[in-house]
Amino acid sequence: MGAINGVGAAPLRKEDLRFLTGRGNYVADIKRPNMAFGVFLRSPHAHARLNGIDAKAALAAPGALAVLTGEDVAADGLGSLPCGWGIVGKDGQPMKEPPFPLMAQGKVRFVGDIVAFVIADTLDEARAAAELVEVDYEPLPAVVGVLDAIAPGAPQLFDEAPGNLCCDWALGDEAATEAAFAKAAHVAKLSLTNNRLIGNPMEPRAALAEYNPGTGHYTLHSTSQFPHVVRWLMSALVLKIPEQKVRVVAPDVGGGFGVKQFLYGEEAIITWAARKVGVPVKWVAERQEGFVSDRHGRDHVTEAELALDETGKFLGFRVHTLANMGGYLSTFGPNIPTNLYAPLLSGVYTTPAIYCNVKVVFTNTVPVDAYRGAGRPEATFLVERIVDVAAAEMGIDCVELRRRNMIPASAFPYQTPVLVEYDSGDPVACLDKAQENADVAGFAARKAASAANGKLRGLGYSTYVEACGLAPSRMAGRLGARGGLYESATVRVHPTGQITVLIGTHNHGQGHETTFAQIVSERLGVPFDSVDVVYGDTDRVQFGMGTYGSRSLVVGGSALNKASDKVIVKGKKIAAHLLEAGERDIEFEAGVFSVAGTDRRKTFAEIAGAAYVPHDYPLEVLEPGLEEQAYYDPVNFTYPGGAHICEVEIDPDTGVVKIERYTGVDDVGTVINPMIVEGQLHGGVVQGIGQALCEAAVYDVETGQLVSGSLMDYCMPRADTSPRMDVSTHSTPCAHTPLGVKGCGEVGTIGSPAAVMNAVVDALAHLGVTHVDMPATPNRIWRVIQNATLPRAAE
């Protein structure tokens, strides 16, 4: 018998062995007999009329099997890609929702828009044939930035969306906020951009589709974070084929970060194509193809004002944001800069009045959707930056200003003026602990030492909160979600007492096979080694909404907990029968069912055996078998948060920003596996540092070409540019999830950019610098320093 590894233990990961020995099973690794290869032909233009496609030469090329285009899509009556959220503007009008066709119809709207799918016997032949497809483009003026897109006379993407406006959305009490500003002693103003990012999971997207004409079954292997949702949306709304005849498998997936949580056109096209060509078809994205087709993240332009009284108390917060949606609405697109952004603008503060207006705008760029954090990093960056701006302007220490406005632990549950009610938290304690861990007391000496070496040192804070566990379905429905966001789990107890968990979330690095096994090990008192976790296959797992929004443990783990409860209830009935006792007299603890007050007992394994192969079961009152399924819907979001402190050193000669110390104290609720949580925090923080210091998706404003379109041009954090971090947790259990968990996948990415940029501004404050936009590249910082220090020739 192996050990029980329950909540709080840190067993090593079950999933490691296959990855460490080269036995992972990623989509690109899978082969099928007679498999053909597909290549997507993509628009080289940001905006163009599509006058025609001539595929004759391509079809005559060696090995070519098919060239499918938007015309074929239309001829087969396929649906367009659905948007999962329908938001409503402040005028009560629904968002403009132009169709997102599988392949371009009449027009292309971004560089990377799919124009044709070319299939051939080999990959080389498919590439060669794709070169021969002649597309008649009539280039149109393009617009890539939100400010340009809403300007009069801007190129228009859709006739049905005048001014390129998808939705003019708002949250909060505008009048109350106006009133707050009217009585303010000080108003801090800040204009900023939140840089567009590209998720770049290390595994490029890929898909392999098969069709069996004998049974009418389709099988799609895809690099997806939510295979059940892909199956549902794709079968019902796009391909219009019976859902039960479609199997979607997301095997080992090499990182997601949100990028793989959408229904992509490629998935539907390849599934449709496999039936047309009669052989399995495989496609693996090249990295540069991923850059122009994986959904992008962030991309806001914001003007904000914070009203304060003479003591520094926040009175009101007013925000106007332009959010870039790209060329079409992706699965969650319009939800991200609205519902996942504005409700977090209260931060960890008692700001009584908040108003946020978001204009959601179409541009000739890759569609923008969720990327790790999704909306919440944008909110946190804005709140935590403007707090520092206000502190500097009012001459109040930025930590003191935070403390004066922080929600005290005693005030939870705390209702914010922007919809959400924080159930639990203790931001003050997180800040205290972070200051201690970061040795803030020693900062002045370190700054002096840096100065002696000609370097500029700065300290930056980010005290933040976010919303996780997507999603409480009722609330999501009110906000425009077109479906609830439950999660399901099945606990299948085998006759030996060993267990298979079937769960609707998807594991692509988060360690679910380990964490979920710990939950079951603890709840049912069975050895950790006796529990295996299955996910990612619609033919094996009942249903699931997948993994995103730090929901797996919060929603999926709660469903698993609930299913485990049901197993105990059923087990007690079986035990009562075997032990000839009343059901109410049966107790269950640490894997043993016993009759209260006696030594009569049955182990979990004995009960499992009796459940499946009974001789004298009371069939009229008890069904054989021991397998339970549960669905769980959280009553509220969860609200992880914490305090991050970053210390940077800037070399004024080169503009290089080096992170010398990074400290995070995060409240993620109850910690199941501290080793895994720490790993999630590390990874999240470095992704946030990437946004702050080096990452940016840059479009050429004239041509709409993605300039940062490869790993040569888009700067990713590397080992030698990433800091050593000190991360820890200060947990207040979530008040409404059964395990007390809050989610930990996104906190690092949400908390860190503001901490880094506040440190950068702090280091440059003596030069009169009050704000620097991300990313703080050496070039940008060097220019900032030069502008601030060089005497102006004309003056």
Partner: protein, 160 residues
């Protein structure tokens, strides 16, 4: 063309077009899919293998370069059920999450550690510069590589 080399301890002869990339040879011809391809510009390092003990990116190596050489991939490291000390170190230190960059990281680390039995953190970070990981933030990878280097050195001492 015919190319003869040693692959994971066994002699191998393949007959492939001379422009075949080693990563494709491994993945498509030889069924060794543990070597991954994560980019198209030799930036990510997911495809790193050991050629005569030296870490090389197999996406920019053509098959004829293997002639007469010893090629080791992630599949060739463990001896039966016993992991290579570097693989074990990654397991013990939670040095991997999604696993996609892991084979390249481990191969790079083995080459590095074979020359640096007790590397500093800074040396380790510099050595991993050509391998991108998007999950871990590198901290536990660095920890794994330093621990793995020590374990490799200890194993060598024990064997000597």
């Amino acid at each position: 063309m015919k190319i003869a080399f040693k692959l994971n301890g066994r002699s191998k002869t393949v007959d492939v077009p001379p422009a075949t990339l080693v990563c494709d040879l491994l993945r498509e011809n030889l069924g060794l899919t543990g070597t991954h391809v994560g980019c198209d510009t030799s930036q990510c390092g997911a495809c790193v293998v050991l050629l005569d003990g030296e870490a090389v990116k197999s996406c920019t190596l053509i098959a004829p370069a293997l002639e007469g050489k010893v090629l080791t991939t992630i599949e060739g490291l463990a001896k039966g059920d016993k992991l290579h000390p570097m693989q074990e170190a990654f397991h013990l230190n939670h040095g991997l999450q999604c696993g996609f960059c892991t084979p390249g990281m481990v191969m790079t680390a083995i080459d590095f550690a074979s020359h640096n039995p007790a590397p500093s953190e800074e040396e380790t970070r510099a050595a991993l510069e050509g391998n991108i990981c998007r999950c871990t933030g590198y901290q536990n990878i660095v920890k794994s590589v330093m621990a793995g280097a020590a374990a490799m050195a200890a194993e060598e001492t024990a064997a000597a």
